[in-house]
Symmetry: C2
């Protein structure tokens, strides 16, 4: 473990989705350097098994530690659900996921005690939000719903589209009937179709974006450990991007999410880690 | 290379889609044994780069050769488009893909010389169908269209669904305007939503299923090489299934495609090959 406040933060995801988390870290911790890894050769994680996700996450953690990061953010809900405990027990470095921060805010915000969670099949099947919310308050009613098509629709760029609205209406019908008042966007792609989801759910439902809440949790953690970066040195670009597959899609998608162009993306062989 | 007519045929795909090809081989070559590999840990291939697909295909080919197969069918359009040439030059075993057989039939069947091709971004971006069709007849007009959402819709099981019809109408609009009379289903999942695609395209358009044509091509190849299996020995089940990730989804999906239940699916670590 590196006790160096000027070291970068490692952020990883199955692909491009975690850039919505990186973006919130950039906004809320502008002095921090970031090393981002997107597992574009093996994306998506949402439909794969726990064993496989742990193995992939372990390889990526080894890679990020080699990059001398001071902390790691698992910016993927599926990897957070399946692998966070294993990573924490195996590696001597602060590691946070995207589940807890969002769940905490949802528990705080709900008025009628009925919380919805949407995510991949892996995340929803793990029931991790439910377990965490029940550890805060066992009387909370938690309704999960897997929405596998949302990722494909977001990546297709159909963010405001009749097809996306139709799919959202189908997936979210059950959550509306259960009268939830708070909905956790439990997959990093979902903030991209937030307005469609909000339109279907209606004004009475508060949407929780765990990316934002995780950035705030990270700030507190680094502060507590005395690891918050001082003012960034102006001379060098503080963000580095690595992927396991150099698909053009990563760059195009990244450039649509981030407020600057990713010129350099480096491909590494993650299976060697 | 194994000169043994009783050896199994190796069939591989990025995941479950190639089972539509395996099914056609089972139907048309009922005496043959099959070793199937689905790369469920790294699925899908359609949005990944050529380098990565070649690397994955090479690992799988090594695994299948270790299983002592007599020939290999690349039952994935993207892997056929990107990796077939590399595999053929590197390995001493007969290897066929799913592109050529379908293209040959399309060239034979078209009356107005306008052929449509639908597939993943990788397959369509490679323009491999166009190149192959033009090597047969340079005057053919070939119109390709990537339909990335079709795979997610098929895996979601929305085979006959208003959402799938709406998405199909959007994707296929351009092909209809170009007045094609023949359409190649250039992705192994697409035969599963064949009736929706047929409904959108109308009766005047012939749909070509490369899975069926590939099984016939395989039969000819094995016959030419003196490698056709004799009558199957009744005592043992002739099909073995391997995956890189033991997701329940594979079994569920396989059992919906194949005429029998897959009880045993073995997980292997494909990254070691």
């Amino acid at each position: 473990m590196i006790k160096d406040a000027s070291a970068p933060i490692g952020v990883f995801d199955s692909g491009v989705g975690g850039l919505t988390v990186a973006r919130e870290i950039m906004r809320n911790l502008p002095s921090e350097k970031i090393v981002y890894f997107g597992d574009t050769a093996r994306v998506p994680y949402g439909s794969k098994s726990k064993d496989t996700i742990i193995r992939f996450s372990r390889q990526i953690t080894r890679f990020l530690i080699e990059q001398k990061v001071k902390a790691i953010v698992v910016a993927c809900n599926t990897a957070s659900a399946f692998a966070l405990d294993a990573l924490k027990s195996e590696f001597d470095i602060p590691i946070i996921g995207v589940i807890e921060a969002g769940a905490l805010v949802a528990a705080k915000e709900t008025r009628n005690r009925r919380i919805g969670v949407i995510g991949t099949e892996g995340t929803i099947g793990s029931r991790i939000h439910e377990r965490f919310l029940h550890s805060i308050d066992p009387s909370l009613e938690v309704i999960g719903k897997a929405c596998p098509l949302f990722v494909s629709l977001a990546e297709e760029g159909w963010l405001h589209d009749p097809v996306t609205t139709l799919v959202a209406a189908r997936y979210l019908e059950e959550l509306k009937q259960k009268d939830i008042d708070t909905l956790i966007l439990g997959c990093t792609h979902y903030p991209l179709i937030r307005s469609t989801i909000a339109g279907v759910m209606g004004e009475g439902v508060r949407l929780v974006n765990p990316a934002y809440e995780t950035a705030l949790e990270l700030k507190v953690l680094l502060g507590d450990m005395g690891l918050l970066a001082l003012k960034a040195e102006a001379e060098d670009f503080p963000y580095r991007f690595f992927v396991s597959d150099l698909a053009e899609k990563f760059k195009a998608f990244a450039n649509s999410i981030l407020p600057f162009d990713i010129a350099m993306t480096q491909k590494i062989d993650i299976e060697k880690y």
